[in-house]
Symmetry: C2
């Protein structure tokens, strides 16, 4: 992997960069569509590319359960299995064990847990997570970490961090494949001294990039912003910074301003399947009856396939009748919206007008009142 | 509409033809994909075209309930509403009232029924069915008919036929739009004298084409074949013959040999969504575990998108994890399989080798034992 910072904004910490990976180049800041089970829900690889996807994310935990790592390995790896030829990032399974599983028993050696499907008992260790991710063959893999819940007092967050750092060392030592890049994950809940210590120790271990974990787990949005901004400010300038599991369009655009380079979130795809699409003026619940005779596209002037070809009335009808095409069109639009948001952010950073772009976007978005709930979403799993 | 018979087989009654319609030309024999609710389930219009679709079918009954005819009309008609630019055929609603609704009260003026969604009471008459179909704007519309169940004794079938003939006259008289073609529907259950009388009277009323109704409603397959063959043999040579709601690949290829020109059925799309795909050797339940590490395409050498890009193992994984892409890929394959079956049949008829092609296909298909149940399917609705 190679990463270089290409441009920096003057008013904010936003920056553009270029990530060279075995399966292609990625311009940052970028949004990775989530392909939990080796498919970005409802989309083909070609449609992802057409919508603007550069890199996607897949989940070690889910793929380990179904179809099983040996199947993906026998297929020739995740790229071949799912027919996606661009870069892939896999997460380590740590977050899924934290968020989806019962009866977790966390020990220095790893985690024993019951899976969310059949309730069978499994054991996952840092070395095993790396081994699995190597078998999957993603371009970027993540260290196995412990994700403390929100709230966590300083003492528990500190203990959790110790474990994450110990596991980070094991992951680093277990990692072999020269074609794959291993990222460390910064933890420490919302405690600044722990975030700082986390970064210092991870830098000593030595990683090619850093995930910011432990956010979007139920904390107030403002606290997420403060923690992400503080954490990003301490991370080394020349390495990519990946804010894990965040967020809405508003959250992403704010945090691009903190100097975050990579994002992933299930929001665009999950909202889409529930009949909610994104517009510059905020969320639109297109399945609502108010759109039954509205023959405009989802967003006037939007260049996505759904907006070029179909009306709100038709897409509303598809949701009303539970037709698969409804989920497809809404997903296509929402992903296009996200990729376009990132593209415009990159262009604005390059043109020296990011702060202005960010302000204009947020004013229009917030004017709709659609993100007034004020806390980071807590269910990033699909 | 123009229809001309282009070629005739010597050994069977099979024939090729060309149907010129306002939205395009259709080569016959053809299979129409079913787009019950103004969408062929899981597919975009472009994907339908890529799979080989020429003409699709939509349902008056369903569209009348959701989104409502006034919405489709306000959109500029069904073509514009759903973004399908090729020919469309709509059925009259008669069959859906028969197969989906409770508390039918059939009177000479029309049918009072409760819909299958909310149980509200509706009244549908022949004139109203024509009016609705004109508002939808399909290229071919169907007369409103009464579909007797199987079995029906001669007396009930005869009374039902009287009603269908009376309604056919009303439909003919109500039909105005010069761009649309109205087909009559032959009924008469499995009674030869009634089928004959039905055709004679419909010809007197005068239609540009004929549907063969009342089959695939639970009768033994052999009886369906005999009735379809007999009926087709009495229909005028120079008008298109449309066997409504049939059938499996075997049933279609057999009945092409009777001189049927048009088919529609939910089998390829419905089977696909349940994880069953068609192969020259019969049905394959690709969601089964036996395919978990099978890295061949669904059908070796198949040119469909699913087979060119993905493996059985991946598609099986998609069904196992209930991913939308699984239904999409299986639907794409099954529709391609059907359209390809028709294309090869047309080519064989043109080349004078249809009987040979039919025999080879049926031998291989029946060798698998996969259609041994011996009765026509009874649930053609999606």
């Amino acid at each position: 992997m190679e990463f270089k910072v290409v441009g920096k904004d003057k008013e904010t910490a936003a920056r553009t960069g270029l990530l060279r990976l075995p399966h292609g180049e990625v311009e940052t800041p970028c949004f990775m569509a989530v392909g939990t089970q080796a498919t970005v829900k409802a989309m083909t690889p070609e449609e992802l590319t057409a919508a603007g996807a550069q890199m996607i994310l897949a989940n070690t935990y889910h793929l380990g359960l179904r179809p099983g790592i040996e199947i993906v390995a026998a297929a020739g790896g995740l790229h071949r299995f799912m027919g996606w030829e661009g870069p892939i990032l896999t997460d380590s399974g740590g977050y899924q064990v934290f968020s989806l599983c019962d009866l977790r028993k966390i020990e220095p050696e790893g985690v024993t847990f019951r899976d969310h499907l059949e309730g069978s008992t499994h054991f996952l260790s840092p070395a095993e997570s790396v081994r699995i991710q190597q078998a999957l063959g993603a371009d970027i893999i993540m260290a196995f970490d412990d994700c403390p819940p929100y709230p966590s007092d300083h003492d528990s967050a500190c203990k959790s961090l110790e474990l994450t750092l110990q596991w980070a060392r094991t992951c680093r030592d277990s990692h072999r494949d020269g074609n794959q890049t291993l990222f460390g994950i910064v933890q420490g809940s919302v405690w600044r001294d722990l975030r700082r210590r986390s970064i210092e120790e991870l830098e000593q271990i030595g990683f090619s990039g850093y995930g910011i974990g432990g956010l979007s787990v139920g904390e107030p949005r403002q606290l997420m912003y403060e923690t992400a901004e503080y954490t990003a400010s301490l991370l080394p300038e020349n390495k990519p910074r990946y804010l894990m599991g965040s967020g809405t369009p508003e959250e992403i655009l704010v945090q691009v301003g903190f100097g975050i380079d990579m994002f992933d979130c299930t929001v665009p795809t999950r909202y889409a399947r529930n009949g909610t699409v994104f517009t510059p003026g905020g969320k639109m619940v297109v399945r609502n009856g108010v759109y039954r005779a509205d023959f405009r596209p989802l967003v006037e002037g939007c260049a996505c396939y759904a907006c070029r070809r179909f009306t709100r009335a038709y897409i509303r009808h598809l949701f009303n009748t539970r037709e698969i095409l409804g989920a497809r069109l809404a997903t296509t639009h929402n992903l296009f919206f996200y990729f376009d948001l990132m593209k415009r952010a990159r262009e604005a950073i390059a043109a020296g007008s990011f702060a202005e772009y960010q302000r204009a976007f947020l004013d229009r978005w917030r004017g709709s009142g659609c993100e007034s709930e004020g806390s980071a979403h807590t269910l990033p799993e699909e």
